[in-house]
Amino acid sequence: MPSPDLLTVSDLEVGFATENGTAKVLDRVNLRIGQGQVVGLVGESGCGKTTLARAILGVLPMPAAHIGGGRIVFHGEDLLQQDPDTVNRLIRGRKITFIPQDPYGSFNPLFSVGDQIMQLMKWNSPLLEESGDKRSAWPALFQPYPRARYRADREKVLEVLRQVQLPQPEQALKKLPHEFSGGQRQRLMIAMALLSDPDLIIADEPTTALDVTIQAQILRLLRQLVKDRGISVLFTTHDLGTAYEICDSITVMYAGQEMESASTEAFFGRPSHRYTNRLLESLPSPDRDIQGIGGDVPSLVDPPGGCRFHPRCDYATEECRQARPDTETLDDDHWVRCHHPKRDASAEPHFAGQDNVG
């Protein structure tokens, strides 16, 4: 059943200034995240998934990046139209939080973990609403942290640190980031994303930097914690196995366009887009040899017209070269942006010249 939407991205366009011209990194991208849903955003490196995550967070690298159009609607309001300062104060870090890709580099190396966590709490604590937000009275650097709230916030921090199963949370706060292992740091990052009781967490490849053995633990922990609280998650990854383990639904992106979106079960069971199919074929499997995808990732400065996948697609027709496909809804929560989607696994049409599609 489709859940009510928490966040919808529609027709979002983001360009990056490069030395060779503007790279259209996001080309009219659409995305929906339901309440309490874990949505996977998968695709190869450079397909735009991290840019989309950053655009939602509102931290695109300016002035290199440029938002060409579209909307990012959160709780019914377009974040792009709101005053950036208000978004920073009330939404970023409070209603929408972030788990970064790199738990090693994302801690400031010179400050204790406790300092960094309490700084987040100082500005994003859920207690702020009750005690009144007086953020603009002083320059932020010199603003005092009220004693009573500090004590309450610290209790909350310790509680969440216990929930992410970090050993000895009291001592942990006094340590420097480099004194923790990668897995522990990512537990801290998860805890920091939970502290403000957010509605949405943007997790940008949060397990890529970790050992495989720790990845599974962290994923299970994250899924359990957000499910308990009913928090939505946008989870970007290039690893389909990871997406399968944690996500309720999956959207696949290719070269700055979204191609297909489906529930995890439908995505792996009944993939419709030709790109999705090739992507799944590239997974190792005991039944067949690994299949690569022929051709190269296209240039984003001068992308192919029509469907951006057409130069590498075996089913491409003149139509694919000319026009970008509209979305076609195949099922509840399953749509595809393809002129010639694969309708049914059994009723595959002509295999013209194809002899190695499994």
Binding site: F98, P100, N108, F111, W123, L176
Partner: protein, 315 residues
Amino acid sequence: MIAVVFVISHIIPADPVALVAGETATQEQIEALRAKLGFDKPLHVQLFNYYANLLRGDLGVSLYTARPITQDLATRLPATIELTLAAMLLSIVVGIPLGVLSAVHRNSVFDHSLRIVTVSGLAIASFWLGIMLQLLFSMKLGWTPLNGRIDGFPPRGGTGLFLVDTLVAGNFKGFWNALEHLALPTITLAFPALATVVRFTRAGVLDVIQSAFVQYERAMGLPSGVIVWKYILRNALISTVTQIGLLFGILLAGTVVIETVFDWPGIGNYAFGSILQSDYNAIMGFTVWAGVMFILVNLLVDILHSLIDPRETRS
């Protein structure tokens, strides 16, 4: 280091003994004086003797003033220290915030204007800057004294730093007078150092601003004032502090010229005078001072590093 300067200053073909003895001295008189001063011995023996005396705190006697070098240095040291500290303070206190702002607003009008100032700072001849400041503020406008450290008698006090001595004595008029005298030399000396501090701070901040933790702090909605002035600045200072040695080199070289321009009775002025008079022992005295400063500054850099970077002390 002392050995190298010692050798350099002794193999150069000038005979200070003849200079000291005077035009009318006979060859025997010169040789007698040479023996008295120890210059007749082989170079390595002279060097050994110099080291031995150095360990006892004896830098020898000035060939020119006939006073012990240590005494000469001691009377001039406070003037140079006062000037150097003031210039260092000025360049750091002004330079670091400017560098940060210019990095945060890079490619803005502010950044470009500041860049012009910093490039000028390293291109202007400091003796000329000093003269121009004198011309404008002392001669034309009459706002500041032309040269010297203070009008009238120097204040009594333990430190020899006039600002401190007058303040301790409650002599505010004297304090203000010393400050007026200090202003132009300090600005002249600080200008190239300031440019260096701004450039290094800017580069350091630009390095840090790209790092993952800054992106994380932004993505988590921390106020930019906290991110810049607390989290970025401390990281950027690690590389800036490393450059303090370089900064000190600029200041030390500057004192030689600027003290000459402003008749500032300090070590730099003394060194220049000693060189003109081929006063070996005095030149060596300046070298020892430069060496001591070099060691102290490196020590200071280490201390500052461990203050800024807690990883150094803990792990």
